[in-house]
């Protein structure tokens, strides 16, 4: 019989089973009747004859069973039978079933969610053809992925390894498709971007390298499918339409395919615009400035047969050429390749590390859950040893009994897996549409797809087998005779058992999670109350880009001054200042600075790389940044007066050695400009909350204009009234200016986002770990009490003290708890080092954390052993001994 026919037969017998049973029954009945007939003719009464015949025949059920087995249809049959039996057994102990299913649902659900995020951000390549050969170029030892446009051109034209190199920037623009100025997030790309990636349009066409003819020569837009859907209602007539971008006319060329949403996995931009139109888009053109590394990323497909190592050495030879040709601008031009999806290693590295760590923790949780369920199963198997023994004595095969136990485990794990998957899919759907930050188009492209389902199924099966296997040895060893005679296996193992190890491991995992989540929470709390170098409470921000409304050059500071003056007239506003880019906001601009004595201004000779802000004179007042010495700017620090700067304490330390030396001192910018320090302010946080003190300089907006404008409005007034008043004032000045208003506290959300997420994830896993530990310790303690009831009863009968009884009953559980906690705490402290790179000031050397962990673990132990302890103390020796 071939496989297919056999399978079909098996399935057919499965469905015909009841029909078969009826036939067998009839045949057996006929058999017995015939036998009874014979007995009757030999002189027996009819009823007696039938009774005899039935007795002679024996168990009909067994015959039916054997017939089914003989027909070979027994695999599915037995399976169905086993599943039915398991369901019946599980229904009899709903508490156990519920705990087991929920435990697994949580553990498998957590794994599915973490895996889906890992898959979306790291495992899945970008949605372009041949994503395996797509690489982005990193520069220098700091692995920076930003480059200058002239360097990009040299890299593109001089390398021999890439098919083509494209480059792009992320930026915000003002878009007006009629009478509705709004801001949008775009990718500014080189003309060859789509062709280099190999992307295909969904509608219309893309722009190409041939469309570029110098600055502002390609006023074209390619929409993402999502933006086309939400803002143009899938209108196919959109191709060829002219819209206003920063008050400049741009033509919509086409729409990209739905699955192509740019080259950053976590970012969903609205449309693409050619980089040659940078002046119209960003307000200034820096494409000819080799020292301005404003291109976010350079990427391309390797030629077939070229290895990454070959490409790197090729790029390095171009780098050597650049260093030699442009010593003033280009230093440290060594290159490496990285995957483009996570914006290189500066973001991708920690993200990969964190997600891998999270996956590992989730795996540990599942392992702990399995250990837990394994112990529960072992305990149940021990409690059922009499049943097992009876079944063995009645001739059941050991394999058959194991099979039922495994089926039980698998039923639980599959149901748990299904529940967990259901929950995680719901959560993932939420995550998918979740926009964590109001200020940036960050989104998680999670997709509960086949991969996730497969992983969940696999985990469910594996965990089912894992915890189903724990009681296996127990069953195999069961000696029916001994068990039936003794009542239960009277042994109380003193040795360290596998179960003890499992429990210690589980407690350790829990302690790791509790430690790291506490470290994270403490770090987060501290970072919320740390000194940022500004005061976010009671400050409201108005953000705009003046270039979006057509301001450029000298008009920019004039407009900024008018806005500041207008906002200051709002009653209740104490001060208003402007800054080009807020600290802690998607990285800051920075520049090399040189000591005044430096003559050779090549990058290698720089005294420091300082963060650079362009501010209005009132900024420090509005932001509440403390001035340590000297003065702030005034509106007289303009183009006609000497260049001045206010620097922070770290800047003075790096360039002048001390605060007192710095005041009235000079330093040089890379282009040779001399700038005098007129004031010194406190250190703050500029790039991230976790950073070490960084040098920073503030330049007056009149001497160093920037169309990027964020107005900081300090006021104690009611937020809603203030926002309305601000809106009115700005619209009065320029009705076509797109802007956003929010509080500085809201703005900080984005800076705190990574540590928030890390804390949340660790917290959730920590709580799950704690729950697992409670059930684990509870199971173990309850089991050991129930096993030793007789011994404890005798102790009580002989006058044992409560303390002694408790020690006998639960001493082991507490010993294991202490051991596991200590190990976990130690591991948690080690793990926190990783955490310190994500969560600001996350340090495990914190007495509060240590005390907290010990407190939590003891509480867990207390909660988990409470019920078993009550049971041990309430033993009534009389009843107990009578029972036995």
């Amino acid at each position: 019989m071939n496989l297919f026919a056999s399978l079909r037969f098996r399935i057919a017998t499965l469905f015909q089973r009841s029909q078969m049973n009826a036939e067998i029954e009839e045949e057996l009945r006929s058999h017995i009747q015939h036998r009874a007939d014979d007995l009757e003719t030999s002189g027996m009464a009819r009823t007696e004859a039938e009774r005899r015949a039935r007795i002679e025949f024996g168990g009909q059920e067994r015959v039916r069973e054997e017939v089914h087995q003989a027909l070979g249809g027994n695999f599915f049959d037995t399976l169905v039978q086993d599943v039915r039996l398991s369901l019946r057994v599980l229904r009899k102990s709903p508490g156990f079933t519920l705990v087991a299913v929920l435990t697994l649902a949580l553990a498998i659900g957590a794994n599915a969610v973490v895996f889906a995020i890992l898959d979306a951000l790291i495992l899945r390549p970008l949605n372009v053809p041949h994503a395996n050969s797509l690489w982005a170029i990193e520069r220098g030892s700091s692995k920076a992925i930003n480059h200058s446009y002239p360097d990009y051109l040299d890299l593109r034209d001089r390398n021999r390894s890439f098919e083509d190199l494209a480059a792009y920037n992320v930026t915000g623009v003002g878009l007006d498709t009629g009478n509705n100025p709004s801001s949008a997030w775009i990718l500014e790309t080189t003309g060859n971007y789509f062709d280099a990636l190999g992307a295909q349009p969904y509608l219309g066409r893309f722009f190409h390298a041939s469309d570029e003819h110098g600055p502002n020569s390609a006023p074209y837009i390619v929409l993402t499918h999502a933006f086309w859907h939400t803002h143009f209602q899938d209108d196919r007539g959109v191709v060829g339409r002219v819209v206003q971008l920063n008050k400049h006319p741009f033509t919509i060329l086409g729409v990209a395919a739905p699955e192509f949403r740019g080259t950053l996995t976590f970012l969903s931009p609205d449309f693409w615009v050619p980089l040659v139109n940078q002046e119209q888009v960003e307000g200034a053109n820096v494409l000819n400035d080799r020292s301005n590394r404003g291109i976010l990323m350079v990427l391309g497909h390797l030629k077939p047969g070229v290895t990454p190592a070959q490409a790197i050495s090729d790029l390095n030879s171009v780098g050597a050429y650049l260093e030699k040709s442009y010593p003033k601008d280009d230093g440290n031009m060594t290159f490496a390749l990285t995957r483009p999806g996570l914006a290189g290693d500066w973001l991708g590295g920690p993200m990969r590390g964190f997600l891998t760590g999270l996956m590992l923790l989730a795996g540990l949780i599942l392992l702990a859950a399995c250990a837990n369920l394994g112990s529960l199963f072992a305990a149940r198997a021990a409690d059922r040893s009499r049943e097992v023994a009876l079944r063995l004595a009645l001739g059941s095969k050991r394999t058959r009994i194991l099979r039922t136990l495994f089926t039980e485990a698998l039923v639980i794990s599959l149901v748990g897996g299904a529940v967990g998957l259901w929950g995680s899919v719901a959560l993932l759907r939420e995550l998918r549409v979740w926009q964590p930050l109001p200020t940036a188009p960050i989104s998680l492209p999670v997709n509960p797809d086949v991969n996730v389902y497969l992983v969940a199924l696999l985990l469910a099966l594996v965990s089912g087998f894992l915890f189903g296997a724990v009681p296996m040895r127990q069953v195999l060893r069961t000696n029916p005779y001994e068990v039936v005679k003794l009542g239960s296996s009277g042994r109380t193992g003193r040795r360290i058992t596998v179960r003890d190890l499992l429990l210690v491991m589980q407690i350790a995992i829990c302690a790791v999670l509790v430690t790291s989540s506490m470290v994270a929470v403490r770090g987060l709390m501290r970072s919320l109350h740390s000194n940022f170098g500004f005061e976010p409470t009671n400050a409201t921000l108005l953000e705009t880009s003046l270039s979006m409304s057509g301001y450029s050059g000298d008009n920019v500071p004039i407009m900024q001054k008018r806005m500041i003056d207008a906002l200051e007239t709002i009653p209740g506003v104490k001060s208003v200042g402007s800054i080009d880019r807020l600290p802690l906001y998607y990285g800051a601009n920075s520049s090399n600075v040189f000591s005044d004595k430096a003559a050779d201004l090549r990058p290698a000779n720089a005294a420091a790389e300082a963060v650079l802000y362009n501010i209005s004179p009132e900024y420090f007042d509005a932001a509440r940044t403390t001035l340590l010495a000297g003065r702030s700017f005034s509106w007289h620090d303009d183009k006609n007066s000497p260049r001045v700067a206010v620097v922070n304490r770290e800047f003075t330390r790096k360039l002048f050695g001390s605060v007192s030396n710095a005041l009235a001192g000079d330093y040089k910018m890379p282009d040779g400009t001399r700038i005098q320090v007129v004031g010194i302010v406190e250190d703050g946080k500029y790039g991230s909350l976790a950073e070490n003190p960084q040098p920073a300089m503030f330049l007056p907006v009149l001497q160093s204009p920037s169309s990027q404008t964020t107005l900081v409005v300090r006021s104690n007034r009611d937020q809603q009234q203030l926002v309305a008043a601000m809106r009115n004032k700005v619209t009065e000045l320029d009705a076509g200016l797109p802007f956003t208003i929010r509080t500085w506290t809201q703005e900080l959300e984005s800076a705190l986002f990574p540590s928030r997420m890390a804390t949340l994830a660790l917290g959730v896993l920590g709580v799950m770990g704690a729950m697992l530990s409670i059930t684990g310790i509870f199971g173990m303690a309850a089991y050991s009490v129930s096993k030793r009831l007789r011994e404890l009863g005798i102790r009580i009968a002989l006058g044992g003290q409560r303390r002694e009884v408790l020690q006998a009953a639960l001493g082991r559980a507490f010993k294991l708890l202490a051991f596991g906690s200590a190990a976990g705490l130690l591991l948690g402290i080690l793990a926190s080092r990783v955490l310190a790179s994500i969560v600001y000031q996350a340090t495990p050397r914190d007495p509060l954390v240590l005390a907290g962990v010990i407190l939590v673990m003891s509480l867990l132990g207390l909660v988990a052993t409470w019920i078993p302890a009550r049971r041990a103390l309430s033993i009534n020796p009389m009843i107990l001994l009578r029972d036995e």
Binding site: E26, E27, H31, H34, G58, A70
Partner: protein, 113 residues
Amino acid sequence: MTDQAQLLPGTLDLLILRAVALGPLHGYGILLRIGQISGNALLIEQGALYPGLFRLVRQGLLKATWGTSDNNRRAKFYELTATGRKRLREETANWNRLVAAITSALAVQPEEV
């Protein structure tokens, strides 16, 4: 009962085929026939017959039809198919060879080795 021999594994099928070869029989009838042709020397549990019967039907060696017995009761009658008849011949030959071999092996005297 004690002088009845245990069946060798696999021989029940052969006995069933042999019993049925003499004419269509229902289950109980097969049991009686085996008893009759073996001189009641073999111990067969009544229930043990049926898995074998179903298996032989499944293998296409027997054909089963519902009919009425001599006692005027509904019963399932089994008869040999052509394949069954062929199989019976082969198995009988096999058995004879086996018995001959084992008999001669057991009959060997020490001096003959």
